[in-house]
């Protein structure tokens, strides 16, 4: 019995306006895995992500987090287990100071103040942002915002981390720092992204979505080197994934 497991069983979802975003998705991620979910715009990535943290509830099939299916009643459990780092940190950092923002989750979980203070400090130190604690979020750089958003999620001590485009809008150094930070985490990680280079650095396994279905699911190196598959799914491989044609073992050119 592990909380770190997350599974989708024949999940389908149609928006109230009739747009079918997910047709039939089955997927299982187990303890400690780091999985990338990639796909062209409109493939259903974001919708899928919102199912994993219970913001959307499947219209068909079911999502299981740990041992419990995601329903209205199990949402508190789901949200404690699954931590989501949203694409735009400005959406996620809604409190007026960094400290308040990181404390928001733990306080909602009913954590006593003294403990919460320690937790906030530990999480901010973990992402190297303790010195920013009194700043308002609009006075942070893109990379700082991202790291604080990650700390805010860590403060809920989730077992599973969901990351939506963690490298968007970052300069090369900020991007490298975030990737290094994420590599250090032992959580089960699910990363939704267009950044295929990040996938290669962070996620051994990749799931490719296309038109609301799983088009491929396997080792990142193999999938991202499969030009025909990528082409079919509307993707373009990263230069790093170009495999040496002679040895074919995925070593970079």
């Amino acid at each position: 019995m592990s909380h770190h497991r997350i599974a989708l069983e024949a999940v389908g979802f149609t928006y109230p306006d009739g747009t079918a975003a997910l047709a039939d998705v089955s997927l299982e991620v187990t303890h400690g895995e780091s999985v990338a979910i990639v796909g062209a715009n409109g493939a259903g990535k974001s919708t899928l992500l919102l199912h994993l943290n219970g913001v959307l509830l499947a219209t068909r099939g079911r999502v299981v987090v740990g041992d419990l299916p995601v329903t209205k009643d199990t949402l508190p459990h789901v949200r404690r287990t699954v931590g989501t780092v949203f694409q735009d940190p400005d959406d996620q950092l809604f409190m007026p100071t960094v400290f308040d923002d990181v404390a928001f989750g733990p306080l909602n979980l009913g954590m006593p103040e003294a403990e919460c203070r320690d937790r906030v400090q530990a999480c901010l130190e973990q992402v190297g942002a303790w010195h920013l604690r009194n700043r308002p979020p609009h006075r942070l750089s893109g990379g700082e915002k991202r790291r604080v958003a990650i700390a805010a999620v860590l403060a809920m001590s989730p077992d599973i981390l969901l990351l939506d485009e963690p490298s968007t809008g970052l300069d090369p150094r900020g991007r490298r720092q975030v990737i290094e930070l994420l590599r250090g985490f032992t959580h089960t990680k699910i990363v939704v992204t267009h950044d295929l280079d990040l996938v290669l650095r962070l996620c051994p396994r990749t799931v490719i979505l296309s038109e609301g279905r799983v088009a491929a699911d396997g080792p990142s190196k193999r999938l991202l080197a499969d030009a025909a598959l990528l082409e079919r799914c509307g993707l373009e491989g990263p230069p790093e994934a170009l495999v040496c044609p002679r040895c074919g073992d995925g070593s970079r050119l």
Partner: protein, 351 residues
């Protein structure tokens, strides 16, 4: 159209804060009872939108001048009265802080003029009945336009009445009205057009949006507080009116009420002891003793009635008063210079 502390008497400012504070409390309780909390971030972000919109000037056609958007009516239509009022109130608070629009005391009056009036007077009494059901977009358009015009007219009227009730400015009521109302009619007409156009734009771009707004935010006539709020408004007007009448009868309301509280009028204060000494000192050196400034025109009659009581100010005292004031200013300046923080003091990052 911001009221300013400098034009406000404490009685009027206090009465307006009372009315505004009570409304904030009622609206907050109303929203808190709602189990759907989508409106909380919505009010914040849409409030920020109104704030940003107010910073842009637009041209008023035909006049060559410019005005800026107020947004009270638009918010009321989009979010419903309670959420719109709180959103508007927070915009005015932050604006009051960042732009120094008006001041701390005037904030109550400003929230009343630009938040309370559109959300709790114009919206339920004019917009709702006029707009009717959702079926007729033409009627809704007219209602939204008229609502925005009326909201601005009432707001300007509020400024005029509050200023007059305070009695600091001498501008006669009708001259003030003649200056304020037409300007705000011109701005209001454009404000109304913009309000209608924005609602049209939003409903056309995303037809589902207005419907998808959370229940608390969906347009609705305020339920229970209607009567309570009407009562509150009347109370505020009565209290404000009464207090300002008192204030005008007794130029210094604070002193008057203290005298009442302690049960002794200034004149019957004991003539000896520290109090008597203070009174004597005040009597002898008071700049404009007892504010003996008869309004223009009534000067002679008052002076006759209160023969001796209203001493024509003696030039020596008043000049000495100004001199003393200037001296205190110098002292304050010197103290500030002596106590100033050296620019070189370490400005460590936030601790």
């Amino acid at each position: 159209m911001h009221m300013a502390d400098a034009l406000l008497s404490p009685e009027v400012g206090g009465a307006m804060w009372l009315a505004t504070g009570a409304t904030i409390a009622v609206a907050s309780r109303k929203l808190k009872r709602d189990t759907d909390h989508r409106h909380i971030p919505l009010m914040g972000v849409v409030g920020a939108f109104v704030f940003a919109a107010q910073m842009v000037n637009f041209t008023i056609p035909g006049t060559g001048s410019s005005g800026h958007f107020a947004g009270g009516m638009l918010l009321a239509i989009l979010l419903g009265p309670h959420a719109a009022f709180l959103s508007m109130a927070s915009v005015l608070v932050v604006q009051g802080l960042f732009f120094a629009d008006g001041g701390l005391l005037a904030m109550g009056a400003n929230i009343f003029n630009m938040g309370f009036l559109p959300c709790y007077i114009v919206y339920p009494l004019l917009y709702r009945p006029l707009a009717g059901g959702r079926a007729d977009p033409g009627r809704r358009r007219v209602a939204a336009w008229l609502g925005a015009v009326m909201a601005l007219q009432l707001g300007a009227l509020g400024v005029v009445l509050e200023t007059r009730a305070s009695g600091i400015a001498e501008l006669p009521l009708f001259a003030f009205l003649a200056a304020m109302q037409p300007i705000h009619l011109a701005i209001g007409i454009v404000e109304g057009l913009i309000t209608v156009a924005v609602i049209e734009f939003v409903t056309r771009a995303e037809p589902g949006m207005l419907a998808a707004l959370p229940p608390a935010a969906a347009p609705s006539v305020p339920g229970f507080p209607k009567r309570a709020l009407a009562g509150l408004a009347i109370l505020a007007v009565v209290v404000g009116g009464f207090i300002s009448w008192l204030a005008s009868a007794h130029p210094d309301g604070l002193e008057w009420s203290i005298a009442r509280l302690t049960g002794e009028a200034e004149l019957s204060a004991p003539q000896d002891g520290p109090h008597g000494l203070a009174a004597r000192i005040q009597e002898s050196v008071a700049f404009l003793p007892d504010y003996a400034f008869p309004a223009a025109g009534t000067a002679e009659t008052t002076a006759q009635e209160d023969s001796g009581g209203w001493i024509a100010p003696d030039a020596g005292t008043t000049v000495s008063g100004l001199l003393g004031g200037g001296l205190t200013l110098l002292i304050a300046g010197f103290a500030g210079w002596a106590l100033r923080r050296r620019p070189s003091s370490p400005a460590s990052p936030t601790s």
